[in-house]
């Protein structure tokens, strides 16, 4: 009896061993030449890919590759390019936009792309308040390949929103399935998607535009930065983003290409203007003078960032280049605080997203401590932090804005925010409101820029927020892979990637 169980146990163990070994299989043998499939590592899972709902960075990889937009954009000249729309007209009064559409475009499921799809996209976009159709009432299909936007009022931002990554055209009637069922007209279509692990896209053979050079792209999730770097060095991954801390190691490796781009992400220290201390302008000025932006940049980003003086980054149209930020001066800060009557200091709470601003928050805490303000750190997971900040319940907060137009950056200061659920600053300033409203209805670019500059000047004088920095984005790939497009706006376009010999 006992002999038997020992034998059975060994048999079971052997079977289990075989089972385990089978599961152990790795990728096939190395192929000659460059692989047909490239692997791109992302730091977060690709999930809930609804262009009208999810704007986390990695999602844009899919929005660019698998979807098309009405317009394209020339980053050098700032001009709009035809994409799904071959040409377009704006009416004199700015109340109608007409787009003429391509007639040779097919969805990934084989059906024809028509104006109906654009009408549906606009309808859903307005319903979900995605922000890509400002002041648009609705869209109408004039015929199968002509679509008209009807406006509620003129708005200069409409065309500017039609080329950004998430202004993707979705299929008529797709509904909320769009988050889990990627159905686009783009250069790539989905081959296989295991949420939480990988997403494989393959070149769309029926694509109306230029065929991409890479036939297959596999996106894998690798949250650990060191692991991504190593995987690229080992050849398991072909493109990955890395944080500033790993740059030195990447620079030392001769076989890697490093792509950098000044991120258009503008990070700022927000202040709640209804707080008893922060409502006092002297206090706000004191805080600004107490912040050493360079230290934050050095510690959190290894120096790879540019100090921000205003809320609009330098690469965006509307940036006020003549406004300089207040200088770092601890003594002056202390004096201002004393003048405000708070020589003994007081307590404040800083709310921020963990995993993103941990180092920055600690540095700010130490810097404000020097002038007598005791900051308690309220680090929360992303959604929890956003909830508190958007409800106007934070005192100090850390956040960022990133977009293609100045309005998006400056809009956090508009008094509309106090009632629409994004009340970061609890601010109501007539001058700022007026400037922003005027800019929205001004078609002429130069005049619009003047309004934005006016807005930034007021913001600076009133010390609405402390603009901190614009970081740098790094991507790495092996030397013989080129074409990784880091876009000035968030995300990167992988359609141009190709092997070079």
């Amino acid at each position: 009896m006992k002999k038997n169980w020992l034998r059975t146990l060994s048999l079971v163990l052997c079977l289990a061993l075989c089972f385990g070994l089978i599961g152990c299989g790795g990728p096939g043998e190395a192929e000659e030449g460059n692989p047909e499939q490239i692997v791109i590592a992302t730091d977060v899972d690709l999930k809930a890919l609804d262009p009208m709902g999810n704007w986390s960075g990695a999602c844009y990889y899919i929005y660019w590759t698998c979807y098309d937009r009405l317009l394209g954009y020339d980053y050098e000249t700032g001009e709009f390019l035809p994409e799904l729309a071959t040409s377009w007209e704006v009416s004199e009064d700015g109340m109608e936009y007409i787009f003429h559409l391509r007639d040779d475009v097919k969805w990934h499921d084989g059906t024809q792309f028509t104006a109906k799809d654009v009408v549906y996209t606009v309808k859903r976009g307005i319903e979900t308040q995605c922000g890509n159709y400002p002041s648009v009432s609705h869209a109408e299909a004039i015929d199968d390949f002509t679509v008209k936007y009807i406006m509620n009022e003129p708005n200069s931002l409409v065309l500017d929103k039609q080329w950004i990554g998430d202004a993707a055209i979705i299929q008529d009637g797709c509904g909320d399935d769009v988050a889990t069922n990627i159905m686009g007209t783009g250069a790539y279509k989905v081959k296989e998607w295991h949420i939480g692990e990988h997403l494989i896209i393959e070149a769309n053979p029926d694509y109306w535009g230029e065929q991409p050079a890479i036939k297959e792209i596999k996106y894998v999730t690798m949250p650990e930065a060191n692991a991504r770097l190593m995987a690229v060095q080992a050849g398991d991954v072909h493109v990955a983003s890395i944080p500033a801390a790993n740059i030195k190691a990447a620079q030392e490796d001769e076989n890697l290409t490093i792509y950098t781009n000044q991120s258009t992400s503008l990070n700022y220290l927000g202040m709640n203007h209804s707080n008893e201390y922060l409502s006092n302008k002297l206090v706000r000025q004191a805080i600004y003078h107490a912040i050493n932006k360079q230290d934050i940049i050095d510690a959190a980003l290894e120096g790879y960032a540019v100090q921000a003086d205003v809320l609009v980054p330098p690469s965006i149209q509307g940036h006020a280049k003549d406004i300089k930020g207040y200088e770092y001066d601890v003594e002056k800060a202390k004096a201002l605080l004393a003048e405000a009557g708070y020589a003994d200091g007081f307590d404040l709470e800083l709310t921020y997203r963990t995993g993103m601003y941990d180092v920055q928050a600690q540095i700010i805490q130490a810097q404000l401590k020097e002038i007598g303000i005791n900051v308690t750190l309220d680090g929360r997971e992303s959604a929890a932090a956003s909830e508190k900040i958007n409800a106007g319940q934070s005192q100090l907060n850390l956040g960022y804005r990133g977009s293609s137009n100045a309005d998006y950056y400056l809009s956090i200061m508009h008094s509309d925010r106090m009632t629409d659920g994004r009340n970061i600053l609890n601010l109501s300033n007539e001058g700022i409101d007026a400037a922003l409203d005027k800019a929205k209805t001004t078609i002429d670019t130069d005049a619009r820029t003047q309004e934005y500059i006016k807005c930034q000047q007021i913001a600076h004088d009133e010390v609405v927020v402390v603009p901190l920095y614009s970081g740098t984005v790094f991507n790495i790939s092996p030397k013989n892979l080129a074409g990784v497009q880091l876009l000035p706006t968030s995300g990167s376009d992988h359609r141009q990637i190709h092997w070079v010999e």
């Binding site: 060191n226 790993n246 050095d298 510690a299 180092v359 600690q362 540095i363 805490q365 130490a366 680090g379």
Partner: protein, 299 residues
């Protein structure tokens, strides 16, 4: 020694010593227990003396961006180097000892207090009360303690106090069960019968007779569970849910140092070593205590 005792000694061939002395002797003979005791004592001393050994404001949380990421030995002012915002590693390690040990100890105290109460009530009263309480403990046990602690911290927000409660909750079930079985063995002893006969209330019996006899088990549990508590605390801090900055904690220091592992491996090496040594010491101590209190349990 009196003549009687001397005779006794001669006839049995060994000295007549008290139970306490016997325990102590067995303990001291075991080399591992002694090492465990010494190491634990060192850590406890450091933890208690931390506020005196290092100054919180100028050493533990003092940042210095120009001095960031110094290697150990590079700057005599910072013998073990500095972290990513220029804070002294050694001072933080010392202060972290205080955080970890106090969290570990408090969570165990809470768990044992509740566990003793539940276990003795269940064991003593038996019947329906016992069944209900034990089922409840089974449910609590259904979730692995680490995940339970994680859920609580994620829900209630990370702080030292949440941490203590969260970790405690994970141990309550095991504690109750242990105390309950100890109580069961003692329940029918004569002196309990005697106390009942003398009219003592149930509560009095539980507190004055039953619990004191479980002390041995409790003491052994204490040492081992503190080790578990420290490990849980550092794991949770590693995930960002534990001690909040700027307060240092070994697990959190490990997590922060991860990004710099290539060039500054000591940022992850030292905190990890601290955790390991403390837990090892406590485990050795716990083993030694168990062996000396009840040598039958030893292999």
């Amino acid at each position: 020694m009196s003549k009687k005792k001397k005779n006794q000694a001669q006839s049995t061939g060994r000295k007549n010593i008290s139970k306490g002395q016997d325990i102590r002797r067995r303990f001291m003979r075991n080399r591992n227990s002694v090492i465990g005791l010494v190491l634990t004592a060192i850590f406890v001393f450091v933890a208690l003396a931390a506020p005196i050994l290092v100054d919180y404001d100028t050493q533990v949380i003092q940042q210095s961006i120009p001095d960031r990421l110094l290697q150990p030995g590079e700057n005599p002012e910072h013998p073990l180097g500095t972290d990513e915002i220029g804070r002294d590693v050694m001072a933080r390690l010392i202060y972290a000892a205080k955080m970890s040990l106090s969290i570990g100890a408090m969570s165990v105290v809470i768990a044992i207090a509740i566990g003793v109460f539940i276990g003795s009530v269940a064991g003593y009263f038996g019947g329906k009360v016992d069944t209900v309480l034990m089922r409840l403990m089974e449910v609590l046990d259904g979730v692995p303690s680490f995940l339970m602690a994680l859920t609580i911290c994620a829900a209630l927000g990370a702080s030292v106090y949440t941490l203590m409660i969260a970790i405690a909750v994970g141990s309550i079930a095991a504690q109750s069960r242990m105390v309950r079985s100890a109580v069961l063995t003692v329940k029918n002893n004569e002196y309990v019968e005697a106390a009942k006969a003398m009219g003592a209330t149930d509560m009095q019996i539980i507190f004055y007779h039953i619990i004191p006899n479980c002390v041995g088990t409790i003491i052994v549990q204490f040492s081992v569970k503190i080790a578990g508590g420290i490990l849980s605390a550092s794991s949770l801090s590693f995930l960002g849910l534990g001690v909040q900055p700027p307060d240092p904690e070994w697990g959190a220091m490990l997590s922060g140092g991860r990004t710099y592992m290539l060039d500054n491996p000591t940022l992850t090496l030292f905190p990890g070593l601290c955790i390991m040594i403390v837990i090892l010491a406590l485990n050795m101590l716990g083993d030694g205590l168990r062996d000396s209190l009840d040598p039958r349990l030893k292999g």
